[in-house]
């Protein structure tokens, strides 16, 4: 459970809404909030980054930890589906770099200011974002089959 005084401080400073694992923060104050968490509150360890698809929006969640007080805090931001863009926190926590690439790859959420926003798990030329609910499990791979070399070409 996240520390109540940190949650209260985030509520007053950034008008955050608490939930079971941490807080939900308005997208505009994400960068300032994670900087404050790292520098003022001692949440210097990056745990994970994940995305979830809702009905009209994506949720991007980062988890950070204060190793001294052994407290893990989840910071959630809601990103609208019609403009899926959010600030990158890769310059605050180096560990967010790959996790944000993964969210971009699997959900198609763009991270502004990310140093190297490329696909990470799927091939570079892959069409679509597989963890979206609209992406069916049976979606064909869309790859060209490698052509077997003909004897003429091989000789």
């Amino acid at each position: 459970m996240p520390a109540p005084e940190i949650v209260a401080s985030l509520e007053t400073r950034f008008s955050a809404t608490p939930y079971a694992l941490g807080v939900e923060i308005p997208a505009v104050s994400l960068l300032t909030a994670v900087r404050a968490l790292r520098d003022a509150h001692g949440y210097r360890y990056y745990v994970l980054g994940t995305g979830t698809e809702g009905a009209t929006s994506f949720e991007v969640t980062h988890a950070v930890r204060n190793l001294l007080s052994n407290d893990t805090l989840f910071v959630k931001v809601v990103v609208p589906k019609d403009a899926p863009e959010i600030d990158s926190i890769a310059f605050v926590y180096a560990g967010a770099e790959w996790q944000e690439r993964e969210i971009w790859d699997l959900f198609g959420v763009t991270f502004n200011g990310h140093p190297d926003l490329r696909r990470i798990l799927m091939p570079d030329e892959y069409p679509g974002h597989p963890l979206r609910k609209s992406f069916a499990m049976e979606t064909p791979w869309g790859y060209r089959k490698a052509e077997a070399p003909t004897p003429e070409a091989g000789s």
Binding site: Y19, L21, R44, T50, T61, F74, G95, L121
Partner: protein, 398 residues
């Protein structure tokens, strides 16, 4: 690959008449070298693009995803009781750690009680798999460092000899050598009897007896020390920012272990020491894992001594695996796998399947340190550093 424009890639010796040999160092610019995905020292299908200046790495770009199987997407299409065996295929060197983290997250979200004996048995199997996983790591590290260790194969064979005994033991306990399918939501699947307890103790004694031998072949070998000391140093700040985890984190002087920081299963009741080193180099990571083998062997003895009596599974038997529905909400639970914090973040919408499931994989986080620590080192250090990080590509790519 052709030579770069303007000459060879090595310094040339030229004899000037009457004088000493003059060595001319020439700058041949940057060379991009592709390492992997099919390379014996990348422990699977990791690909590294190394930018080299001479033999020094100036930039390293890891390319992953060759083993991506879409486990998180698959999770959204299966019921909670069907999923645990799937995750055992993720980190294939310590399968039960994966299913253990998963069942913990489901139990947390659903408020499902676990009998005490089952909690102890989960810890028991986890510790045996930690030993077996660390033995694979040590053996393959020996192969990576190659010639220094009698061709490398000696240490590898010795480690696999002991690991084989552990797999045989697990086969006798669970019917499977590897993917034991030990953890169930709400308990454990297999029980220990007195004969198996005796076998576990004998096995622990056998592996313990082999440890000094392993030490003398690795940590006691001056060439091994030369190849690992002050190589791939990870500072505390970098370790925290990148969020590396497990023995890799503890070798940088941060005593964070999920087993003590957020005790799960039986670990709240089990006394053990968290191993740390402060140097943060490849040798410290090696030492941490070696000491952890000894700690785990002590732990399995403690567990069989104090094993509580009682049932191992108390939930009502299921007629239909799709009958288990979890309340709406979110939960995160983690275990200390041999590679570090392995967590499951489950979002439930109240149905019988996870709405979204994220696997917080330790190898993924540990591999992220690679572009930060490889530059400045030599090509030969790359394999030593990768070996000391112990990535499992099934865990990285999921």
């Amino acid at each position: 690959m052709g030579l770069p424009q303007g000459g060879g890639t090595y310094a040339r010796g030229r004899i000037v008449s009457g004088g000493p040999i003059e060595v001319v160092e020439r700058d041949f610019g940057e060379l991009a070298l592709n390492m992997g995905p099919q390379h014996p020292s990348t422990h699977g299908v990791l690909r590294l693009i190394l930018h080299l200046s001479g033999e020094t790495v100036i930039k390293a770009i890891p390319v992953i995803g060759y083993l991506h199987r879409g486990v998180e997407k698959l999770s959204e299409h299966l019921a909670y009781d069907q999923l645990a065996p799937i995750y055992e295929r993720d980190d294939y060197l310590a399968p039960t750690a994966n299913s253990n983290a998963y069942v913990l997250a489901v139990e947390k979200l659903g408020g499902i009680a676990v009998p005490r004996r089952a909690q102890w048995l989960r810890a028991f199997v986890s510790e045996w798999q930690r030993v077996s996983s660390h033995l694979v790591w040590l053996g393959t590290l020996g192969l990576d460092l190659g010639g220094a260790l009698g061709g490398g194969t000696t240490l590898y064979m010795y480690c696999f000899r002991e690991r084989e005994k552990i797999l045989d033991f697990l086969e006798e306990l669970t019917g499977t050598r590897y993917h034991t399918n030990f953890n169930l939501v709400g308990g454990a699947r297999y029980d220990l009897d007195a004969a198996m307890v005796a076998k576990s103790n004998a096995l622990a004694a056998s592996v313990e007896a082999a440890l000094p031998e392993f030490w003398s072949m690795s940590g006691g070998n001056p060439i091994f020390v030369e190849r690992t000391r002050n190589v791939g140093v990870i500072s505390k700040d970098l370790a925290m920012g990148v969020g590396i985890t497990g023995p890799t984190l503890r070798a940088s002087g941060i005593a964070y272990d999920v087993r003590t920081a957020a005790p799960y299963d039986a670990y709240g009741e089990l006394p053990f020491t968290v191993i740390t080193r402060t140097a943060g180099d490849a040798e410290s990571r090696f030492q941490v894992r070696m000491d952890e083998i000894a700690v785990s062997l002590k732990l399995v003895r403690t567990i069989v001594e104090g094993l509580p009596t009682g049932p191992i599974f108390t939930r009502k038997p299921l007629k239909n695996p799709k009958a288990t529905k979890l309340p709406k909400g979110e939960a995160y639970a983690a275990v200390e796998s041999p590679r570090g914090e392995l967590g499951f973040h489950i979002v439930s919408d109240g149905s019988a399947k996870p709405y979204r499931l994220k696997i917080n994989a330790p190898s993924f986080k540990n591999l992220q340190i690679v572009p930060h620590i490889l530059p400045g080192g030599l090509v030969a250090d790359v394999v030593a550093i990768l070996g000391s990080l112990d990535p499992v590509l099934g865990d990285v790519d999921r």
